[in-house]
Every structure is written in C-alpha cells, then in structure tokens.
C-alpha cells in the first residue's frame, strides 16, 4: 500500500517522540491499573508471619498456600455466601431482563399513545428521588421485608439507564417497517415481541444482562442495609465484614481446629478477596466487548 510507504517516509522526529510517549505512558498506566491486583494476589500467597514482620510487597513473600487452606478448611459460610450471590445474580438478572425488555419494547412502539409519558416517568426517577431514608423505610417498615432475600435482588432489577439502553437496541435492530407489516398481517403485540423482536436483539440482551449481573455480583450495599442474618449475606458483604472484624478469623479457627497464632489473619483477607473477585476477572476478557457496546450506546444516546 502506498499509504504505509508515505507514512514511513514521513516519519519525522515528532512522530518518533510521540511513539515513545504513547507506548511508555500506556504501558505505565496499564501497569498501574493491574498492579494492585497483583499486590492482592501475591499478598494472599505470602506467608502470614513474614508479612507481619516485613509487610506486603509486590511479589509473594515466602510463598505459601496457607491462607487458601484456612479458607477452605471451613468453607461453609463462604460457600453459602457464594450460593446466595449466585442466586441473587441469577434471579435478579432474569427478572430484570424480562421486565426491561417488556418496558423497552412498549416504549419503543410508535403505536403506543403514552410512550412519551411513560418514558418521562421512568426518566424522572433518575433526576429526583425521596432520598435514602424514605426508600429504606418503604422496604423495611411499610413492606416489612427486612431480612428477606427478595429485598436483596428486587431493588436493582431495573434502572432508567438500562431501559433506555434496551430501547435503543430495539429501535436500532428492528426497523419500524417490519413491525408495521407484521401488524398489518395480523400479528399481535405478543407475537411481534417474541417472533420478530426477541430473535434479533441478542447482543442487547447480553449487554443489559451483563450490566445487571455485574451489579449484582459486586453489590454489598443492600446486604448492609437489609440483612438480618449471615444466611442471606451477599459475597461482597461477607468479604466486607471479614475485613472489618478480626473475629471472623478467630471464629473460623474454632471450626478448623487450628490454634489462633497459626491463623494467617492478614493474608486470609486477601485470599478471600481473590476468591470473591475470581469469577469476574475470569469472565471479564470474554464479555468486555458487550460492556463497550453498552457504554458507547448509553453515553451518546442515553
């Protein structure tokens, strides 16, 4: 190609300088973004006594699996927190997707007279609200749901952002002409939704579903507000609580039958963090593109 040739010829001093700047800065920034994870992982693989003596470093100090062994010696609570989080994520994402699709489909229909009113009512919730206290009292005192599992997943099933994102996906992948001709052929709204719209909005479903799932997986807030027993804790809240209380580890040591001084308190926290984030970082490279699509569409048209 002539293009590359001219580029090579025209590669002057400024271009060379810029190459150095961009590769240098990007490498540095990428490392800054990832290094903290490395610190956590190497900390979790360090020997606790060494850490207590010398502090954490960027690489494992006196490599040891003992933190993970402690966690998995009495895994009952962690497994329960894992199970609960998977449950919240699954049911919240499924219900949320269903409700979001129904809503987004309805407000994308030109035949629907009140679509602008409904859109505004949904949008309005993002610019004004009663605040935290009334919201909290609504669920606890009025509905009496404190301590239930419903309260953990229900408040996050949808958001104005996700509804509008989905509407944009539907509007972008189903031309009006197609729904119109289907309607003339006698298809009802249910048929149009299930036979025409649903089959072509796969990427939209994946994007919105992943946003929902990530939100559920990373949530600790609703457990901190509404949970009354450890049985219903989300994984992140379990981790949060563990960080806050050294007692968590001493409790664990009773089950596991290890003496207190052998319990690697500091490193166990880090190992727990690795266990809690593992799935997200594992899936992340494969699902990243869906988030990119969602953010791009949401930012420009939301």
């Amino acid at each position: 190609m002539t293009g590359t040739k001219t580029n090579r010829i025209r590669k002057d001093a400024s271009a060379v300088a810029f190459d150095w700047i961009k590769y240098g800065l990007l490498t540095l920034t990428a490392l800054i973004c990832v290094l903290p994870f490395l610190v956590i992982i190497s900390g979790s693989l360090s020997d606790n006594a060494t850490v207590m003596r010398e502090g954490y470093g960027l690489l494992p100090k006196n490599f040891s699996w003992s933190a993970y062994e402690t966690i998995f010696e009495s895994p009952k609570e962690i497994i329960n927190a894992y199970k609960m989080t998977i449950y919240y994520t699954a049911i919240g994402t499924a219900v949320g997707l269903a409700v979001i699709v129904l809503t987004a489909y309805t407000i994308s229909r030109k035949e629907f007279k009140y679509r602008n009113v409904v859109s505004f009512l949904i949008y309005f919730t993002s610019i004004f609200g009663g605040g935290l206290v009334p919201w909290y009292l609504m669920y606890t005192n009025i509905l009496g749901l404190r301590g239930s599992t419903f309260i953990i997943w229900f408040p996050a099933i949808m958001s104005p952002f996700l509804v509008i994102l989905m509407r944009t996906f539907i509007a972008g992948s189903v031309p009006d002409a197609i729904t119109e001709s289907a309607r003339i052929d006698g298809a009802g709204e249910g048929t149009i939704l299930t036979r025409i719209v649903l089959p072509v909005i796969g990427p939209g479903l994946a994007t919105v579903g992943l946003f929902l799932a990530l939100g559920y997986w990373n949530d600790w807030y609703r457990s901190s507000m509404f949970s009354t027993s450890k049985e219903t804790w989300e994984l992140q809240f379990y981790l949060y609580n563990m960080l806050n209380s050294a007692t968590a580890v001493s409790e664990m040591s009773q089950y596991a039958n290890v003496s207190m001084d052998a319990v690697p308190t500091q490193t166990v926290k880090l190992a727990m963090a690795v266990v809690a984030t593992g799935p997200v970082l594992l899936f992340y490279p494969f699902v990243q593109r869906y988030f990119v699509t969602g953010i791009t569409i949401g930012a420009v048209k939301g």
Binding site: A15, C33, V99, Y114, W135, L143, D219, A273, P285
Partner: protein
Amino acid sequence: MTATNAKLRSGVSLLERPAAARTIGIWIVTGLSLATLLLSLPFVNWFTLTNLSGLWKALSIPNEAVIYSGYSAYNLLSFVQQSGAGILGFPASMLLLVTIAAALFQAAFLFRVAFKRYGNKGYLQLYSTGTCAMILSIIASFGAIAYLIFANARLGITWMLPSPMVCLVPVLSIAAYVVLKAMQKTERVRQHEHGFLVEFKRNWLLFLFLVPCFAYFIINNYLPMSGVYFAFTQFNFRDGLFASPFVGFKNFEFLFMSDLWKLTKNTVLYNIVFIGLGNVLQIFFAILVSQVGSKWFKKTSQTMIFMPYFVSFVILRVLVYNLFEYDYGVINTYVTALGGSRIDFYNTPKYWPFLIVAFNMWKGLGYGMVVYLATIMGISDDYYDAAKVDGANIFQQIIYITVPLLTPTFIILLLYALGGIMKGQFELFYQMVGTNGVLYDATDILDTYVYRITTSQPLSMGLATAAGLYQSVFGLVIIVVTNFCIKRGNPEYALF
C-alpha cells in the same frame, strides 16, 4: 309560546354549531376554573374549628401555641405543629401537595385560555390541562373532607368542620369536568385522536407489559417520595413514623447550623474534580490508544485499563488498606526499606482528597475512555490524510483535528455529569474511608452522612431525610437550570 320555542330552537342550533358551542363551553369552564382557583387560594379557609377551648383541653395543647379558628390546606401543617397532633401531619402534607398541584394546573389552564396557548393538537391539549386541573381539584376537596373525618376520629372530637367553600369546590369542578369531557369528545373526532379507553382496548397487551415496570417504579421510587415528609418530623419510637411530632423546618435549621455547608462543599468539589480531571484523562488516553498501530498492544492496554471498573468497591477497600496500612502496607514497607519513617495515612486527613481522586480516576478511566474512543473511531480518515499532505505532524493532527472533533461529545458528557453534581460517589467514599471519624472533615459527603445516620441513629431519621431532600431538590434545580441553558444554546443536546 311559539316565540320562545323558536328562540330555544335557534339557541339549540347555535349550540350544535361546533365553533359556537366550543366558545361557550370554554367560557363556562374558564369561569368555573377561575372560581375554583380563587376558592383554593391560601386565604380561603377550608376548615373551621368550633369549640376552641374544648380542643385546647382535649389535645392538651401547650399554652404558647397559636391556634386559629379557620385553616386552609396551606397552613394546616401549622395547626399540626402547634397542636402537637403528629398523627395528622402526613395526610396534611399530602393534602397540601394535591392542593398546590390543583391550583397550579388551574392557573396553567387559565394561562392557556388567556394567551391562546392551545398547543398543537387543536384544542385537545387545552382540554387535557383542564381535565387534569379539575380532577386534582376534585381529589383535593374530597381529600379535605376525608381528612376532616380522619382527624375527628383520631382525635376523638367533633369540632373540626368543613367550611362552605370546600363544599363548593367539588360542585364547580365536577361541572367543569363534565363540560370539558363533552367538548373533548367532539374535538377528538375532529382531530382523529382517541382517548385512554380506546387506547386501552386497542393496546391492552402493551399496558399489561408495563405492569411490572410500574409496580417497580412505584414501590422503589414514587411511593418513597412521599416519605420526604419525615424531613419535617422529630422521630421517636413511642409515636412511630406517622405520629411523631411535626416540627416544620427545624431539621433543616439544625443542618444549616451544623454540617450542611461542609457536606455540600465536599460533595460538589469532589464531583467537580472527578468530572474535570476525569474527562481530561479519559480524552488523553483515548487519543493515545487510538494512535497505537499494533492491534495486540491496543487491545491489551485497553483491557488492562478497563479492568478496575469491573471489581467491586469492597475490593477497592482491600486494596487501599493493603497499600496504605500503617504496619504492613506496601507503601510503608517500601518507605521503611528506603530508610524513611512510616506514614500514618489513616490518621492524616490531608492525604485523602488526593487518594480518593486518584482511586476514582483509577476505577473510571477505562469506562470513560470507551466513549471517547468510539467518537475518535468515527472521525473520517480523510481529515488526517489531508493534514498529512499539508505537512502537519502528529501533535498538530491531534490538536487541530481530534480534539476539536471530540468537543461536542465532551460537552454532552459534561452537561450530563453536571446534573449529577449533588450525587456523591457513595460506594467510593464509604469503602475508602468507612467510619473513620478522623478523616470526616476532608472526606464526608452528603451520601455517607445520610447512610451513617440511617444505619446507626434511627432517632435522627428526620435529619437524614432532611439532608437527602436538600440534596435531591438542590440537584433537581441544578438539572432544570442546566437543561434550560442548554435548550437556549443548542436544543439538540437538551436532556428533556
């Protein structure tokens, strides 16, 4: 006899002529609307109190209280406050809201008639403003009567009575409503429009689709809005939520005297830095990534920079703790290794604004970069080719082509972010600082303050609600003002 008949007949035929009928109808409704509006203004008493001395005794009202013999919906809450009958407060606040809404809609209707602002669908928009106004007036007046029944029953008295005015309002507004509906019907035929019932019959399935969405937003957002009433009460456990004494603006006064200025300042200043510095960094790195030739390097660096967005804030907490902890933290390990003395981050407020900003940048850089990167990818290569032919170097290309073309996106994102300037990044602050009181001066924002009170001090619930309401209203005002300014500048960017 025949003369009257003829007159009557000509009158009827006059009514049948649509234009004339419409004019008469609008005149009638305007008169009724004006009367209703006058009757629902603050100086018209809707409630009369007979036997004041009996009331004084029955409620054991304190001596210094000021009680009038008549009240409107507007000053009813002062009666609640003075008499100490907290149980009447919540319904009184709801009544106040409906009455204000009704008065505003009546005024809007009158405004439309007076200045012939009929909207773009014939007279339909005028009529729908009118019907809304009338329905609200009907609800307000019946609500007032229901309120009286409720108040008398709860207080065990019979001395709170409706004034004749409040009985007149439903009569007038129902009459106006009937006339409006009749006119609306003919106008709809003329405009080929249809009403709610026809729409419901035609698209009932779509209405059904919306049921879960409505249930969600009503439970999660709209019903709790009425709870802002608690901002005006002094909660105690004996009386409970709905009977605790109504204290007017006392909570707000307390907030203004104590922490509100600090909280607002922190919330707004942090957000300004987040928005400003965040966008600059995002644009900068988006440009860098877009200039990378190697596909592998581009993808990998983008993936790595985006990664922090995906972890929870609890992990952020682990991280921060791990890096800055006094005894074992990574920073202090290296500081001591280099011969320095340990830095006590968790007891020194001055470090935290920088740390919080840094970690916010760290977590949000990848997200924001995506948006700008998409915009850069949309810029046509022709511009760059032309610039290259003209001998522009890479820096000139960026400054004179890329940056100007990113400006519209930047402005849109800036305006969106400006609307949320009162909303703090709760998770970030709470997980980084937690309940470490030493750092509050530098790190406490409205959201963390409200959360702390809600979870740990139920008796100060009114205070937390007041702070939340202040935040919401202030935020809404900012959004509306921003939107107004955008609309005047460039309507395409307007939010609504």
